[in-house]
């Protein structure tokens, strides 16, 4: 057996990340306590450096496969890697002051963050059940620890433990499903599995295997009814970690789901389609209805991200319907939604962290009159909230549009019903997003207002998504093209 072929150019992003991880570890060992904030710089530079080969590979254009098709570097993988690295970079910007001022362990924090990112970049290329699983654990285990970073807070401990138990449970369920898939198909590579699927073998046992695998991922992307861990974990974790969980970690789950469904299981639409239909409808509706009742903005955003996840599941549920033209449309719809969602949700959390420096709380009541004493923050927060609601001319509208477009493209009765459910949900969602905006704009300010300044890193973490969300809203072609490119490999 010949030695496996290594394409070092294709693996460069992962290699650079690994080097950065080691660098952070060594730096943490050598630096004095007061110098440790520099680990954040190292981590940030590592993320940006890892982007360089991603851009080079994208410019180069050729698809590269390794390990017999288990590892694939194509447009889609590169796009997702870029998304993860940028989301990671923004998270580091968010964390810098938060972690330093909060008197937390800094070196370990960035070490774990980078490790999770490494798992995600691997996930983007994984086209094999084992690789997917390894990537998933690499990205999950560090986040279990990060969620409990506020050690002295009972809520943070609860957050970490809940997240851990649920994560392990879902991994177990998923592995069980995968093992049956392997047992039947005789291969772990998705391409081979899809050949097995299209040969029409497998019967009901294969349906069961698909069911278990999908349920495992439903936990990861916190789809209703497997969402219970999310709000508690989100609330207890340090806020930058929450931002990371709700964007990068969730996207990691979706990337795996995209590869599995569109590459591996696609031919068995009758098995996975109904499951995803129900997950999508339930996530949107339940997520939104519970978000209506929240009094804490972090919890509200947690439920809103469950609902947003529902919107991303909608294209899955209609991908295999109609005359087949829906498949690429549905795939690119989810990809584009993920990209835009990442921008606006990170922005919302960045604004939230900045506002918390003034209000000292994430309770929605404490936002009263923010517009009067911190107009810039109030305006940017409102932009992100209304973008999440999908109001033009903010970027979120295009994400909603492509989902609706995929639905109408499929054109079947189930698809249109799901479309109407989504339309009604976008109205419900507006209510709670607008309520927060209303609190900031319409209510009188409290007698005493905080004077916390917004540090530079945090300011950058707000400005970047703000500019992007406006640019996408006015000229969506920017991201739409990316979605189209990602679909090419399909």
């Amino acid at each position: 057996m010949p030695a496996p072929y290594f394409d070092y150019a294709a693996l460069a992003p992962e290699i650079i990340l690994t080097v950065a991880i080691v660098a952070v570890l060594v730096a943490d060992l050598l630096f004095e306590e007061r110098e440790k904030y520099q680990t954040s710089t190292i981590a940030g530079v590592g993320c940006l450096l890892a982007l360089v080969p991603v851009l080079y590979l994208a410019g180069n254009g050729a698809d590269r496969t390794m390990f017999g098709g288990a590892y694939m570097v194509d447009n889609y993988a590169l796009l997702m890697k870029a998304l993860f690295l940028l989301a990671g970079y923004v998270t580091i910007l968010l964390s810098t002051n938060y972690i330093e001022e909060g008197d937390y362990y800094q070196g370990e924090y960035y070490l774990l963050l980078l490790t999770a990112l490494l798992g995600m970049t691997i996930m983007a290329s994984a086209r094999d059940l084992v690789t997917i699983f390894v990537a998933l654990e690499t990205l999950s285990i560090p986040t279990y620890l990060l969620a409990g970073w506020r050690k002295h807070d009972a809520k943070s401990n609860e957050s970490s433990l809940k997240y851990y138990l649920m994560g392990v449970l879902s991994s177990a369920v998923m592995l069980y499903g995968m093992s049956i898939v392997y047992g039947l198909a005789g291969d772990t590579r998705l391409v081979e599995i899809s050949k097995y699927v299209s040969s029409g073998q497998g019967g009901q046992l294969f349906d069961v295997a698909i069911f278990f695998t999908l349920v495992g991922f439903a936990f990861k992307v916190s789809a209703v009814p497997f969402h219970f861990w999310a709000p508690d974990s989100y609330e207890g974790a340090p806020t930058p970690v929450t931002a990371f969980l709700s964007v990068a970690s969730k996207t990691g789950g979706f990337v795996a789901l995209l590869s599995l469904v569109y590459v591996g299981f696609f031919g068995r639409g009758d098995a996975w389609q109904p499951i995803l239909w129900v997950l999508a409808a339930a996530s949107m509706t339940v997520g939104n209805l519970i978000a209506l009742r929240q009094t804490n903005l972090v919890r509200m955003l947690a439920y809103s991200s469950i609902a947003q996840g529902g919107f991303m599941l909608v294209p899955f549920a209609v991908a295999n319907q109609g005359d087949g033209s829906a498949r690429p449309a549905a795939f690119s719809a989810t990809v584009v939604y993920l990209l835009i969602y990442a921008v606006m949700n990170l922005g919302a959390f960045a604004a939230l962290i900045a506002i918390a420096r003034k209000t000292r709380s994430a309770e929605i009541d404490t936002y009263a009159g923010l517009f009067n004493y911190a107009p810039a923050l109030a305006v940017t927060m409102s932009l992100f909230l209304f973008s999440l609601a999908g109001i033009p001319p903010l970027g979120g509208w295009y994400a909603k549009l492509v989902v609706f477009k995929a639905v109408i493209d499929a054109g079947t009765a189930q698809a249109v019903i799901l479309g109407v459910v989504a339309a009604v949900n976008s109205v419900i969602a507006l209510f709670y997003y607008a309520r927060v905006a209303g609190m900031m704009w319409f209510k009188p300010s409290p007698a005493e207002t905080g004077t916390g300044r917004v540090p530079v890193a945090l300011g950058a973490a707000i400005a970047l998504p703000t500019a992007l969300i406006l640019a996408i809203g006015v000229y969506p072609n920017l991201f739409a093209r990316l979605g189209e490119l990602a679909t090419k490999g399909l």
């Binding site: 517009f371 009067n372 107009p375 209304f386 109001i391 033009p392 001319p393 509208w397 295009y398 549009l401 492509v402 609706f404 477009k405 639905v407 109408i408 493209d409 054109g411 249109v416 479309g419 109407v420 339309a423 009604v424 976008s426 109205v427 507006l430 209510f431 607008a434 309520r435 209303g438 704009w441 319409f442 000229y475 969506p476 072609n477 739409a480 093209r481 979605g483 189209e484």
Partner: protein, 512 residues
């Protein structure tokens, strides 16, 4: 001037946006500068409008003029396509004029909590949205502009509104968003049902919904109907309107009444009717019925009001009922009347809301039972109120007449294939509505302007009309008279373009 022709519409739409960016860049403390920049921006926009008026080819009013057609979102084949024909022209000019007058009116009395910077910035965003909606010739572009007005209006009501502003602003937002979500689904359905797939309104209109099964057409039209009918608003979707109008600051109410409601009726004329004539034909009786219910319901609602602004808001429901009745006849006569009605309602009701705002500013109340004797205390304002009430009830010689009377008349002879008896019944009901309109408007006039000065205000020092008010109002008053005397000024512009739309229904009727 070729340069101007290809840039005119983009300039008209985006100059306010540029102005908004400038306003945002000016520090909050420099109020005078902020006001001057806004005034300059809106004046410049109107100047573009005036040049357009002069360069518009009135002999080809049915053609889209000053067209722009550039690539925008290639991936979903949506284009930046804008154009102006006889139907859009009066509405665009109305929008530009009203916005300018609103800036003048609010010059030195911004509602609480003051903050002219934010207020004017939002007003400018609104203007871009409104003008863009009337010019867009691509469904997605239309959708963007149609929705663009929601955010500024939401904040305008919510920040500067009355005591119940929280409820009113969110209700306005939710209602409209619900309609437009379904409208968007219909747009997408139109896209996929057309061959080749397109969002282009001109192409879609030339297809007349060919190749779409009748049942599907009805559904798609239903989505469009909800989106537009909520905006108009038609009975039974009108409940957001009285709340929004009553709570909104004066300028917000004026913009809402004068322009925002027209986005709905314009949507019917520009999108729903020409693109799906067959479905429109089937839906026409429903639209007609809801219109006349709206006329009567709005009028009865008026008679039950105790708040002056709320009364005018309900009168809007009735007036927009006349407009929709004209549209539901699917005849060129009816649609022309509808467009005239839109313009006239914009001028007259806009004026009435200005007056209601000024009354409130002076008496700090709009309770009809507490007001009275305005003619004694502020005779000029009293007379203007009387004049506008007359115009609103459709007195011949003033603009209101030409919106209302032909709309009623048009239902005597609806498009071929529509139930003649039914529409003549609508006509009778609508005629009763005009009588009721006279009733509530005269009642309001009597309560506010006539009679003795109530105890409460005996010693109050009430200013008559002051300067910014004069500047803001005189153009409107003159136009109300001018259009009343020369209705042709609007009818001649709209007629050619309307003929194109109604032609589809002649063929439709013959097919039945």
């Amino acid at each position: 001037m070729d340069w101007f022709d290809s840039w005119a519409l983009s300039l008209a739409t985006f100059i306010p946006m540029v102005g908004m960016a400038v306003v945002l860049a000016i520090p909050k403390a420099k109020e005078a500068l902020i006001k001057q920049v806004t005034l300059l921006t809106t004046a410049l926009t109107l100047a573009i409008g005036v040049i357009i008026l002069f360069r518009f080819d009135y002999d080809a009013a049915d053609k889209l003029q000053f067209p722009v057609n550039k690539s925008w979102i290639d991936v979903i084949s949506s284009r930046y396509h804008m154009g102006l024909d006889g139907i859009s022209l009066p509405l665009v000019i109305l929008t530009m004029g009203i916005t300018l007058l609103c800036v003048v009116y609010s010059w030195d009395h911004f509602p609480e909590p003051h903050n002219p910077k934010a207020f004017l910035a939002l007003l400018l965003v609104l203007e871009t949205g409104m003008i863009g909606t009337f010019l867009a010739e691509d469904l997605i572009l239309f959708f963007i502009f149609f929705e663009l007005v929601l955010l500024p209006m939401y904040f305008m009501i919510g920040v500067w509104g009355g005591p119940n502003r929280d409820y009113a602003s969110i209700k306005f937002f939710l209602f409209t968003l619900f309609g437009s979500a379904l409208m968007l689904l219909s747009f997408l359905a139109l896209f996929f049902k057309s061959d080749p797939h397109t969002f282009d309104m001109v192409t879609l209109a030339s297809l007349h919904g060919e190749g779409i099964v009748h049942g599907t057409q009805l559904l798609i039209f239903g989505g469009l109907f909800l989106g537009f009918a909520i905006k108009v608003p038609m009975f039974p979707f009108h409940t957001w309107l009285p709340d929004a109008h009553t709570e909104a600051p004066t300028v917000g109410s004026v913009i809402l009444a004068a322009v925002l409601l027209k986005l709905g009726t314009y949507g019917f004329i520009r999108i729903a009717l020409p693109i799906l004539p067959e479905a429109a034909h089937s839906w026409a009786p429903v639209i007609g019925a809801l219109s006349v219910i709206g006329i009567i319901y709005g009028a009865l609602g008026c008679l039950a009001q105790r708040d002056m602004k709320r009364l005018i808001a309900f009168s809007s429901v009735a007036h927009m009922g006349f407009v929709m009745l004209g549209i539901s006849t699917l005849t060129s006569f009816g649609i022309n009347a509808a467009i005239f009605g839109m313009v006239a309602h914009g001028l007259i009701t806009g004026m009435l809301f200005f007056l209601a705002g000024s009354v409130q500013e002076r008496f700090h109340t709009r309770e009809l039972s507490r007001l009275g004797g305005l003619l004694l205390q502020a005779p000029k304002m009293g007379w203007i109120l009387g004049f506008c009430a007359m115009a609103s009830l459709g007195l011949p010689g003033l603009a209101g007449f030409w919106g209302e009377f032909p709309a009623v008349l048009s239902s005597y002879e609806p498009a071929e294939g529509l139930n003649l008896g039914l529409f003549r019944f609508f006509m009778v009901v609508a005629a009763i509505g005009t009588v009721l309109a006279a009733g509530y408007l005269l009642w309001m006039l009597q309560r506010v302007a006539m009679g003795k000065i109530p105890e409460e205000w005996q010693d109050a020092h009430i200013h008559d009309v002051h300067k910014p008010e004069w500047i803001a109002w005189v153009p409107l008053l003159l136009l109300i008279v001018a259009l009343g005397v020369f209705p042709g000024a609007v009818f001649n512009v709209t007629d050619d373009a309307v003929q194109v739309i109604s032609k589809a229904f002649l063929a439709e009727g013959a097919g039945h």
